[in-house]
Each structure stands twice: as structure tokens, then as C-alpha cells.
Symmetry: C2
Subunit: 253 residues, 2 copies
């Protein structure tokens, strides 16, 4: 696709205790460099998604091809564990891992934080010499319609209560608005696009809370409200090129 | 999306005797022209598709927005009629209308030719003043991995036998390779992209038959074999911009 190719991989994850799929888009090798090492952009999908949605719907491969960036699209939760209640709602359980390490016994397999931050990067480093996995993770960050302050919205409160228990101090470890107060040594501007017609904007996503916290702590952030756009992949497809270019510039490609 | 918007419409089709869906992508209006009339590009999907696949997967809206072209994505067959056997195979019946007018009693509702060539353009003209439907249809034509010579391939033979009966002269009315011998007053070059790794290339699609007929009859055609590409929407997404630009040039936009 766009001179490169999409590949889907399946592996057993010791972190999660189940088989997991992920996709990689490999950009084309430039003629001048037959064995390049491609910088890596992780796409962490949101509620209900698998590793496929972004690969099929975003059109991100166009800009990734042009900029020579590899795209990594993991899944959003463990699957196939048959934990009671795991598939009862679309905002919790399967397809809704919230990229945290659960502490409650029932959801002990939900360790997407460790999977994404540790296991998957190590697996890529060991198996894909064409990926430049030696760089630090998350040198540059951006998001589409993120859950900006989950401790203060129904999605987050439901998930954190079940995964992490009732101690709200534990929740703050996985809330960007809380975290930016503690870790504000961020050099690259955080780019956020948010559709103004997104029906989740005012009760779930709360980007203002995050941008206020960023401003308070000197973290560079650019929140772009996009009129006429909703929460769909059409919104993502429209602005994904800007995000990939944003990361390419931050990485000095 | 890309400054414009996708809309899905549902209507009862007298031609087909059932309800039909179609999508339109409306490009943004240029600031200099608040009430423009957009030229129209029909996308006729292939086997198994609905009106949704192209809108979700192709990324065509990017170039359509830039060129100011509206995209029309109809469905590929009647649906919901419950004709015995209509859903038994993916290459015949539902999702496989072949854009013909069936003559066999059992499939009498399969009149996608009239639906696409007559009913739908009239419906658009009556309901969408912002579309420039006064132009002749098919001033410029292109295709991705088309069934170039259906009378000579298994897909076509199965469909034509069932829809049209056993008289092969009737089949030729819906075969591009046969038609180009009769109607060769084609001014705009026909652009065809074809993946070299498409598993249907050599036994079903037969683009060489079509391009040979074009050459014989002086019809301008450009068949581009694309190495490494298969029959998927990833292939279409990679080259759709070229097709939209091709039509924009042919229409003198």
C-alpha cells in the first residue's frame, strides 16, 4: 500500500495471558538506502477497536509512506479469556483496555500498559531489525478525541473502578490530566484534534481539562477543535496526515 | 470529511422493486462560489460490496475534495427480496448485480443497468441541485481490476447464464471487450489499474482481452499493472487519487 505493505502478526502475550494480534505498516525502502531502519509510530486505538480499524480506515499509510515511518497498530485489550462480563458493554472489558495495569483480581489479565510499553516494544526489537526501536518511546505524542481526564468522566470512572478498585489516587496514574502535573518535562508539542460535533466531547472527553493542566504546568499542547467533525474514522482520516507530519518533524526526519 | 461530508440515502427503487441505499460525498464549496454545481463521479463497486465499502475504505474523499468532485456510491444489487438462492454465493445474486438487466423470470428484479444509468441519475437531478447532473454520463471512465471480458470467465459465465439465459449474443451487451468493438467513439482515455498479485487476474479479470480490443478499435486505454498489489481496498486506496485526477482532467476542471 503506497509502495509499502501492511502485515498482521499474531503472538502469545505472557503479559496478558492470551494471543494477541497487531498490524505493522512498513513503508517502502528508499532507493538510496536498501536496508533502512524506520522510525516507529504507535497508534493506540480507542474503545471498541481492534488492531484492524486504523489499518483499514485511516489512510495513514499514505503519509507514513512519504515520511518513511512504520506504523504499529496493537489491539485494545486481551481477548478470548472468557472473563465473566468481559463483553457485556462496549466501554469496558474486551475492546476497552484503557492501557492500564489492572489491580483487581477478576481483571488481572488486563495489563495493557505493560503490554504496550514493555512487551510489544521488546518483541519488535527482537523480531524486526528494519524498525528503529532503539529510540526512546513517546518522543512525540498526539491524539484524536482522547479521553482527556478519565477520572472525571463516566467511561473512566466505570473502567477505573472495576480495573483498579476504589482508591482514586490509583486512578491518577492513568489520567493524562493528572499525570501532566507530575511529569511536565515534555519538549515536543502534544497535538490533539477534536471534532466539535463529537457527541462525547462534553461529557466524556474533556479536552479542556487536559489543555488547562498543560498550560498550568508549561507543557506545550495544541488542541484543534474541528467544526463539523464527529467521533468517526472519517474525522481521523481527514487529519491523520497532519499528525504524521507532526511526528516526522519532532523526530527530525 | 476533508471539508465536505458523506451522506447515506435510502429510497424505494421502482426499477428494482426494493429499497436501496447509496452514499454521496459532497466536497466543500469553494469560498468564491457559495452555490456551486459539483461534477459527479459514480463509483460502481464490485462483487460482495455494498454502498459503504468505498466510502469507508478508499480515502477517495481527499482527492474529490481537492478537485471539487461529488462521489456517488450506489449498492451493487437489489437486496431484501428473498429470491431463493440469492445469497448462496458471493459471486452471484445479492452483492453481485453485474450492472445488467436480467431477462430470466426468477431474477427479474436484477435491473442494475437501468437503476444505475436511468433511475439514479434522474433521482439525483431531481433532488440535488448542487450536483451537475446535466452533463452526459460517462464522459470519462476508469476502473480498478475490472472483469474485462466476462463472457470468457467463470464469474461472468455463471452470472450471465442465470441472469440472461443461454444465448451468448445477449451476454455481449454487458461485456466491455465485446462492446468496445461496437461503440468505439471514446475520446477520453480509459484508465485501468490492475494489481499483479491479484489472485483473480489470470482466470477472471482478463484485462489483456479488453486492452487488445481497445487497441484494435482505436479506443485509448491505459492499463497499469501494479507490482505487489492484490485485489484489496489497500490497492484501490493507493491509486484512487490518480483516477480522480484523471477524471478531473478529462472534465476540464
Amino acid at each position: 500500500m503506497f509502495g509499502g505493505y501492511n502485515r498482521r502478526y499474531k503472538h502469545f502475550s505472557p503479559t496478558l495471558g492470551c494471543s494477541m494480534n497487531f498490524h505493522i505498516y512498513f513503508p517502502p525502502s528508499p532507493p538510496s538506502s536498501p536496508s533502512p531502519k524506520f522510525p516507529v509510530l504507535y497508534w493506540l486505538s480507542g474503545l471498541t477497536c481492534t488492531d484492524e480499524n486504523f489499518i483499514v480506515k485511516s489512510g495513514a499509510q499514505r503519509a507514513a509512506s512519504k515520511e518513511g515511518i512504520a506504523l504499529i497498530a496493537p489491539d485494545t485489550s486481551p481477548r478470548g479469556l472468557n472473563v465473566e462480563g468481559e463483553a457485556e458493554s462496549w466501554d469496558f472489558g474486551v475492546g476497552a483496555g484503557f492501557y492500564l495495569n489492572a489491580t483487581q483480581e477478576k481483571w488481572k489479565n488486563w495489563r495493557m500498559y505493560d503490554y504496550i510499553v514493555k512487551e510489544l516494544p521488546n518483541l519488535l526489537a527482537e523480531n524486526f531489525p528494519q524498525l528503529d526501536t532503539a529510540r526512546h518511546l513517546y518522543l512525540s505524542v498526539s491524539a484524536f478525541a482522547p479521553i482527556g481526564n478519565p477520572v472525571n468522566c463516566p467511561w473512566g470512572q466505570k473502567a477505573f473502578t472495576n480495573y483498579l478498585g476504589g482508591n482514586k489516587a490509583d486512578w491518577e496514574e492513568y489520567d493524562a490530566t493528572c499525570l501532566v502535573a507530575k511529569f511536565h518535562d515534555v519538549s515536543a508539542t502534544i497535538l490533539i484534534d477534536q471534532g466539535e460535533d463529537d457527541k462525547f466531547l462534553h461529557n466524556q472527553l474533556l479536552p479542556d481539562k487536559f489543555s488547562e493542566a498543560c498550560k498550568k504546568h508549561g507543557v506545550p499542547v495544541l488542541v484543534r477543535l474541528q467544526p463539523g467533525y464527529d467521533h468517526s474514522f472519517f474525522f481521523i482520516a481527514t487529519f491523520i496526515d497532519d499528525h504524521i507530519l507532526h511526528h516526522a518533524q519532532a523526530l527530525n526526519l
